[in-house]
Symmetry: C2
Subunit: 512 residues, 2 copies
């Protein structure tokens, strides 16, 4: 199904306009890659990494700061001493391969926006977790729930974002212990794309599940994952109780969990790529094995967030070549394991959407797609090492995601693609602008960027010499102006509001 | 040999400083790729393209607007009618494969900067051919010979540029019919890296050869290519006498020729990728076959410059996904043919070094490297579809080229790379910043960008909130300030000057 169809059925003036604006682009609910992934390690190299990860899991093991996890692993046959769990070689892999799905569907409120997680699918979701937001008009400031809703609306309206994401920015103007209600509500009300749940505490994960049950139905959710949530390891080699508790809550509800070692190599792992890959594999295996023991068959995603640091200042760095190598290797290891893989995005260290931001983002996003990443968090908006969510950056990145959608289709070798008729009849010296073949393929011939300015220098001058962020600024404002909320059944809407009001009244506001 | 060694032996304060600044980076005279290229077409798809190109060469053929070429092809057995040459299937391929070298060395004035053209080597050269230059201080203006010399000096000083390039900008302040003397002189005097010669007329190509003979010796050049020159087809399907004459001049002197169909798909070729690839292959085969007939064994490079156009305005567009697909396919076809391949670069349509420029450049440079391109013209400086050479853009792009140098080494699977000792002894929760392994790998652990700002937001504010071009502006000025000319034997220097003075006096200035 095309994005155009999706938009039309889901209604809304903005959606229809977006559909028309992007009718030329091959927009789809998620990408289906037709190209084999790029490989940076041989089979032998990958097997060596796997053996090293097994050695690490057996000899050093992982810390699980969670009683349920310790008891679970003890029962499953691991060597548990205090909070340290050591795994017989191959144990985690066997547990994961015994029951974790190779791929699954995450269901969206609009079924035409369901996304496939795994296999040859790639799903783009907005950046996640920044306390700050930035736009050209107001500069950098703390995020609010209004910003949060804006980014949900932008991701909903944008034809190249497949997913609503999670903490698209921190709504810092709301109390820490209640903001998850407003965040989850925003995803459920202002978008109909698939979304991510709260993971900051197990009870907040439970609220997410309960709110989703109001919208999707408890029965439906028993065998249809509608929530995908991000649980990070505390690298090196530690899983804490908050993350494990959230993961357990989701797994028990048969909702999907993304288990991601978050590693700045040189700080949370050794400085070399092979060692970072080994450690990431070991940590992710432990996390995924736990989820499979909690509920065999619950959907899990193997995550890897790896970047480098400046060896001078210790500052995180992005878009450098080493994390790209790590990403390619991790994706290959996830394929060998047979689970969906999350990594990459449009990462950068730049404070502003300048050339540094774009080079670094491209140096992350292209490996992301060529490696065959299945779920791409941080695909749009990321600035300043994740501290800031940028309005203009979101628009600029999403345009690049659109280009990836064309790229992954590869070269059309159909008769129309080969175009031998026109090649054999056009003749030397004659241009192709007006040939029947060109006219027949006019609409879909090339990806059309809404942001790139390809006009003459003189025309560009006449139009105010705008740079790319200035053009992106106009686009996000227009998208928000034209946004129309997707319809929600009135009873559902009221029940959701009632749940939030009731739960918020049950305990006092707090900023922890 | 490392770039550090190269710099030290070649002398010069600037070179030594550059060596120190980049001692951390693994800088080398050219990249040696350790990763297998990314493929977008199957063997079957590539064979279909080859068959289609043969059909095009047999049924439509190519126009050769050059009597020598027509006579040469007639003698070789092609069907020549007027200026149209039709080739029996497989003829061009057989001619090329019979004598064209799979790879060759282009010799530089400094032998430690000799570059390998072909095989697993990738060589970065500056952008080529722009009438305008741009810097942050003066904006956009016509290029002068001073700008030309500046870019030669920057390419000489930059550790990630392997080659001096050719028309690094048009020296518009010099007469058209004599500026080649000053351009070639600049490459010979102000750099000791390999360079490109004039191709605008056969006699200018001969001047290039004669000037190079003064510096390298006529005997040496008989079996050592020191000039690589760019001859473009007039797509679709035409080779003109100026380009063919220049190619013949270089081939007769056993100097290297790059034969490049320059195609904006939709205008000079059909809009589809497969057809653009077919036409490019046919045109390049014809050009390379001619050079091999002129002098069997003369080094040739298979070139492809392909981009797209805006179907609304007809303006050229860059960094879109379709040209990336074409690039990958062309590189695979060149490998099958068994000749070195030139394509890609840091192409963009943006007028300024903003996020558009960077995204588009990255969307060209990454495929360039992953496809295994051997000679990368336009690797640094390109703006505005090639109309402008940017000082800041040059610095920004060259930094990306440096990152590619790290990327192509792949993942180090040595014992030190695997780092099992440190993984097994560091333990959970403990950071790696001070481990023996980190300290031992401190210098070479990660690529260090001179341009990226990874400092805190507050520090960045304190330092003036500079964007990437503002930082690049400081770098190129510092490099020019610290530039020191590589030594040249006094007799050679005088002979070169005498040649130029004499030749310039032989005919009046003209702007055609």
């Amino acid at each position: 199904m095309t994005e155009e169809t999706t938009h039309r059925r889901s209604g809304g003036r903005a959606a229809r306009q977006a559909a028309r604006a992007h009718a030329h682009a091959q927009t789809v609910p998620f990408l289906t890659r037709k190209l084999a992934p790029f490989e940076v390690l041989s089979e032998e190299g990958l097997a060596t990494i796997e053996a090293n990860a097994d050695t690490l899991l057996a000899e050093v093991g992982l810390e699980f700061l969670d009683d349920h996890a310790l008891a679970t692993f003890r029962e499953a046959g691991a060597d548990v001493t205090g909070t340290r769990v050591r795994f017989p070689r191959g144990m985690c892999r066997q547990i994961v391969q015994a029951s974790a799905p190779r791929q699954f569907t995450q269901y969206a409120r609009n079924p035409e926006r369901n996304v496939q997680i795994g296999g040859d699918a790639t799903v783009f979701a907005p950046a996640y977790g920044s306390p700050f937001v930035r736009d050209l008009d107001g500069g950098r400031r703390y995020g609010t729930i209004e910003d949060f809703r804006n980014f949900v609306k932008l991701a909903y309206s944008h034809p190249h974002m497949h997913h609503s994401g999670g903490t698209v920015c921190e709504p810092v103007n709301l109390p820490v212990n209640k903001r998850h209600f407003d965040m989850v509500e925003a995803h459920l009300r202002y978008s109909d794309k698939a979304f991510m749940g709260s993971v900051t505490r197990p009870d907040r994960a439970q609220d997410t599940v309960d709110m989703a049950r109001i919208v999707f139905g408890a029965g439906f959710m028993e065998d249809h994952p509608v929530i995908l949530s991000l649980c990070n390891a505390n690298s090196p080699l530690v899983w804490d109780s908050l993350m494990l508790g959230a993961a357990r809550t989701y797994a028990e509800a048969n909702q999907a969990v993304l288990l991601t070692p978050f590693i700045l190599a040189g700080a949370m792992a050794p400085v070399t790529a092979a060692a970072t890959v080994t450690q990431t594999l070991a940590e992710a295996l432990g996390g995924m094995a736990y989820v499979q023991l909690v509920r065999p068959g619950a959907p899990v995603v193997f995550g890897s967030f790896a970047s480098s640091i400046s060896m001078q200042s210790g500052a995180p760095t992005f878009g450098t070549p080493e994390p790209a190598l790590v990403l390619y290797a991790m994706a290959a290891l996830a394929r060998r394991l047979g689970v969906p893989f999350r990594s990459g995005g449009s990462l950068c260290g730049s404070k502003i959407p300048d050339a540094q931001a774009a080079y670094e983002s491209a140096a992350t996003l292209q490996p992301t797609v060529l490696a065959g990443v299945n779920f791409v968090l941080h695909a749009a908006g990321w600035l300043e090492g994740g501290l800031t969510m940028g309005y203009e950056k979101f628009i600029l990145d999403a345009d690049q995601c659109g280009m990836m959608g064309t790229f992954v289709n590869g070269i059309d070798m159909s008769e129309n693609g080969q175009a031998m008729d026109t090649l054999l009849t056009n003749g030397p010296s004659n241009h192709y602008l007006g040939t029947a073949h060109t006219l027949a393929n006019f609409e879909t011939a090339f990806y059309r960027s809404d942001i790139a300015d390809n006009n003459s220098f003189e025309q560009w001058l006449d139009e105010g010499s705008l740079d790319a962020p200035a053009r992106a600024n106009r686009i996000w404002k227009k998208m928000l102006d034209e946004y129309q909320q997707p319809a929600m059944d009135e009873g559902t809407s009221e029940a959701l509001a009632e749940y939030i009001t009731r739960r918020k009244a049950e305990f006092p506001d707090s900023d922890t």
